[in-house]
Symmetry: C2
Subunit: 167 residues, 2 copies
Amino acid sequence: MELSPTAYVILGFLDARPRSGYEIKQTVDNSTRFFWAASYGQIYPELRRLAGLGLVESKRDDDGGRRRQIHRVTAAGRRELRGWLQRPAETFETRDEWLLKLFFARSTGRATAAALVRSKSEFHTALAARLREIEPKVVANGNPHQLSVLRYGIAMNEWSAEYWIGA
Amino acid sequence: MELSPTAYVILGFLDARPRSGYEIKQTVDNSTRFFWAASYGQIYPELRRLAGLGLVESKRDDDGGRRRQIHRVTAAGRRELRGWLQRPAETFETRDEWLLKLFFARSTGRATAAALVRSKSEFHTALAARLREIEPKVVANGNPHQLSVLRYGIAMNEWSAEYWIGA
DNA sequence: AAGGACATGTAACTAGTTACATGATTTG
DNA sequence: CAAATCATGTAACTAGTTACATGTCCTT
């Protein structure tokens, strides 16, 4: 089966424990977001699709008057996730508008280019700080792979911030 | 006017000199590709759109029997490009399937995780090497901003490759 | 003669975002 | 009581990829 990487994000989080679509979104925003984002507009329809394929089981579990749906990964879903983990990765993409503007900053004055570089540096500093805030939670949850991914993100953004300060 | 960043890529390259859609694609693949890619399926329709908006002028310029179209940026197109360059950048996105797999490599053995890390490191080494090949061309064309963007790409990929070797 | 590079273009598809609609509960 | 948070979902849209179709010219 060939699912979208975002489907595996969902399967991956459900593999740790069952949760609602809303919770998946929060979790993504506090973890994989810096290298793989996902919006509600993707998560909810994808959950349905996965349920249709038998990879996820969804059951209603209202919280008081609050309508809620809890999803859990099935045995087939776990198999699917393992299969994906063993296949080689393919996608690596970056869309960096700062670099694009700097690249075409020919006619603009050098003040504009300098401001751009400063702004890029600040962006990476802010992102690194944001990731540092998450760090204690990830340490607490005790998954070494997740921690090493996060630390890479922190280190990389700090590296980038410094790179452009020196420039 | 609010165009897609890819439209500005086109305007930016046409600003340096007029060229065909095919040439734009080749140029992108040899320069902005590592931080902003574009396919024919985007470039050709976008050229039409830009022509419709009066930002680009396209004229037929067959090369022997080879049908060809040369596009040049208009004065309005240059204004539009400058306007974009002066607005702050917004988009910064990464989709990294290697990090995603590592992040969810809980149940897989540690051998799988190690292979993943190695493969990520190799990927960045190869990309850095690819960018190094381009470097002389960029040096030759004498645009300092383009060179600094390229060198950042090289440095960053080398940094990433080394980061994961040590891990 | 064949294969690769030059050259343009579209159709079908996949992915993903944004904005909106709806409504309950919790917190200040 | 107002605002934030919890919670689900969809419609319309934007962006972008892939695969295909077509044909020329150049190199081996």
